[in-house]
Symmetry: C2
Subunit: 216 residues, 2 copies
DNA sequence: TATTTATCGATATTTTTTTATCGTATAGCA
DNA sequence: TGCTATACGATAAAAAAATATCGATAAATA
């Protein structure tokens, strides 16, 4: 199935890694040295055994009666995710959502560095949003030749998503973090990740309707 | 395991339902009447058989050589998710992200109606953001007594997440759509859904690092 | 030093999810 | 009407993920 070239296993584990990382960093800031699977499980509302299973991926060995080395885990998870060094990206569509992402401080935790924004609105071109310069989308190809970014955040209106995607791909972007509601089409060697708020809401709604006695 | 009171199965299916719904509505707008599992699978980059399995949940029967009734599927999925009627909600923390959600037009597709915003910033109280009135967070309990909303969208700074959660819970909120990076703690009968951007980025990063020959 | 206790980690089991197989139903068409 | 191609759907199989069991190890304590 060539559509699944980029299928990876242990995907649920990968999805949990950032959550572990977040807690581990908090602990590290409090000068904690070790943490148990039970502690992390409690925080994340999962089973301790699942935490230990996930940590097999990190190759960090825990010690009985003590737990895992926090710094060891952090280093290993960061390395696994490639979050040890800055991750250069651009953002296309500096609208409401785009601007809020540019101003999202905690994004630095993932070492994501947004080098430039691109927009079609002449009013926005030439300005800086939260310190990030905004360029005309027409200059995308030209500027991407100079920037090292291979990752793009897509926050244009859904109707423009495919057009801009095509432009991004032909300009050398290899990964697209897609916030639009469109299912964009890319060549086989380009990775996309769709951020779908609706699916989270769907889960919430189903859980609420299933287990709540009263309507909604 | 009482933490899993609200565990539901077929969760991956539930997560995909909004994506089906989105495409089905597009088709309906084009006056299409029927759709095949192969068509939807192609759009979503999944296998047709998975679409058919998912549709078992809708109890809509497809007809060979024709496919599924689009209107039937839409009605069934909406009913399943409870998206057939307006879903009243409030939003706490009318900052960058909060404001962008309030201005998110496509949110109406889920029939989510945000009745009010709440914020601690006196500058924001009394204003309207994208037509939604913003009240002081101190009036939350009082106003929730009058509003029918049982769902809250949480977009306050992460440091305030737990405090506000406690307030929401004691004010009668039963479901919290949590956009902060905190793992909030709630009583057993309250549902939370954490929207974690980091996990999407993690998946993207891992996919990119795994299958790209060149670094990043 | 022996005992107790917490916690890991190897292995096995169960559950859930995805994918495959193949018979069946139906629309279109000769 | 009978043939053919298409798409479903029941059943089975495979794969993946989560959970359980339990022995081993190391810290704390007596
Ligand atoms: N606002 C939200 O909370 C939210 C949430 C989830 C997803 N989204 C998605 O994010 C996208 C943007 O939503 P928004 O609310 O920020 O809309 P918006 O209209 O505020 O922002 C869109 C921006 O893209 C720019 N733009 C339009 N066409 C362009 C083009 N061809 N090239 C470059 N830039 C272009 C516009 O000038 C504008 O600045 C939509 O696809 C929406 O579905 C938004
Ligand atoms: N900006 C993003 O793109 C983004 C993305 C994902 C998650 N988040 C999360 O969303 C949250 C908000 O982020 P933001 O970028 O919008 O920050 P922000 O500072 O722009 O917005 C926070 C808002 O909450 C209000 N507030 C603060 N304390 C409050 C309280 N006790 N009660 C009520 N309101 C209060 C502030 O006045 C402000 O209006 C954070 O937890 C962040 O982690 C943001």
């Amino acid at each position: 199935m060539d559509r699944n070239v980029f299928k990876i296993d242990k995907l649920p584990t990968v999805r949990r890694l950032p959550a572990y990382l977040h807690i581990l960093r908090q602990l590290a800031r409090c000068d904690e040295k070790f943490v148990s699977s039970a502690f992390l499980a409690e925080k994340l509302n999962i089973e301790p055994i699942l935490v230990r299973k996930d940590f097999e991926l990190t190759r960090v060995a825990g010690t009985p009666r003590v737990g895992y080395s926090i710094s060891g885990l952090i280093a290993s998870i960061e390395e696994f995710l490639g979050w040890g060094e800055d991750l250069d990206a651009i953002l296309v569509g500096v609208g409401q959502l785009g601007a809020s992402i540019l101003g999202y401080r905690e994004l630095m935790d993932f070492r994501l560095r947004i080098l430039a924004g691109f927009d079609s609105d002449p009013e926005k071109v030439g300005t800086a949003v939260h310190g990030v310069p905004v360029f005309a989308v027409t200059r995308l190809e030209e500027l991407l030749g100079r920037l090292r970014a291979r990752l793009a955040i897509l926050t244009v209106p859904s109707a423009d998503a495919q057009n801009i995607t095509d432009l991004l791909v032909s300009s050398g972007i290899r990964g697209i973090w897609n916030y639009t509601s469109e299912n964009i089409v890319v060549p086989a060697d380009v990775i996309t990740q769709k951020e779908d708020l609706a699916s989270g809401l769907a889960v919430l709604c189903v859980k609420m309707s299933r287990n709540m006695p009263s309507p909604l």
